[in-house]
Symmetry: C2
Subunit: 133 residues, 2 copies
C-alpha cells in the first residue's frame, strides 16, 4: 500500500489511502479508525509519520480525535439553515482559537462570516448552510 520509494511522502500516501477508505464507506461516519499504534505496525511506518497523516485528514475536516478514545470519522451534524438577504456579504475563513470556542467547532473546521448592516456574525461551517432569501 505504501511505497517508500515513491516521490510522494509516506504520510501523504497514508492520508490518501485512509481518505479513500473513508470515502468508500469502509470507515463510515462515527466509526473509529485504527489506532496510531496499529496503523504504525500495519504499515511499518513510524508513529509520527502516521500522526502526520491523521493531521492532514483532521485539517480536511474528515476526522475528529477524542483522546484517549481514538480517532473517529466525523459525523455530519444536522444542518442549520440561515437566511441571508440582499446586500449581505459572505466569506469563508478559518476561525481564530477564540472564535473556535465561540462557534463550538473543532480544529480544521471553517466558519461562515456574514456581514450585515448590524455587523458581522459567524456560523460554524460544519453544520450551517446559508440560503439566499
Amino acid at each position: 500500500m505504501i511505497d517508500p520509494d515513491s516521490d510522494r511522502p509516506r504520510h501523504r500516501q497514508l492520508a490518501d489511502s485512509l481518505r479513500a477508505r473513508i470515502a468508500s464507506g469502509e470507515f463510515a461516519p462515527g466509526a473509529r479508525l485504527p489506532s496510531e499504534a496499529y496503523l504504525s505496525q500495519e504499515t511499518g511506518l513510524h508513529r509520527t509519520t502516521v500522526r502526520k497523516a491523521m493531521e492532514i485528514l483532521r485539517t480536511e475536516g474528515l476526522i475528529e480525535i477524542r483522546r484517549p478514545k481514538g480517532t473517529f470519522v466525523r459525523e455530519q451534524r444536522p444542518e442549520d439553515f440561515v437566511e441571508v438577504v440582499r446586500g449581505n456579504v459572505v466569506r469563508a475563513r478559518m476561525p481564530t482559537p477564540e472564535e473556535r470556542r465561540q462557534c463550538d467547532v473543532s480544529e480544521g473546521v471553517p466558519v461562515l462570516e456574514v456581514e450585515r448592516a448590524g455587523g458581522r456574525v459567524l456560523y460554524a461551517g460544519d453544520h450551517t448552510a446559508l440560503r439566499v432569501r
Copy 2:
C-alpha cells in the same frame, strides 16, 4: 515569553505569541517570519516544537511557507465578489486535495460552495466574497 511550566503546550504558546505579533502588525502581510532555526535558538525550544507552532498558523491561513525561502505572513489577495441570488445555498468547507488544485488554494484554506440551479460551484475562500444581490 514561553513558560515551560505552563499547562499550555509550548508550541501553542509560541503560536499564540506569533499570532499576536502578526495581528499587531509587527509582522506585516508579506513579511518573512524568523526562520525555524532562529526561533528555536531564541526560545530555547526544539525545532520540531517550533515547526508545530508554524503548522498551527498555517492551518489558520495566517502564514504561507515557501521552501526554502522562508515563512511569510499571507498577503490578502484582492477580493473577488461573486453574486448569489434567491434560492442559492452556500456552505463553507475544507476542499479535497483535488479541489484544492482546482481552486488553486493552499492547504488550510476553506472554500465556498454555492449550490445553484445548475449545480455546485466552488470558490477559493481566501479571496472570494459572496454578495447577495
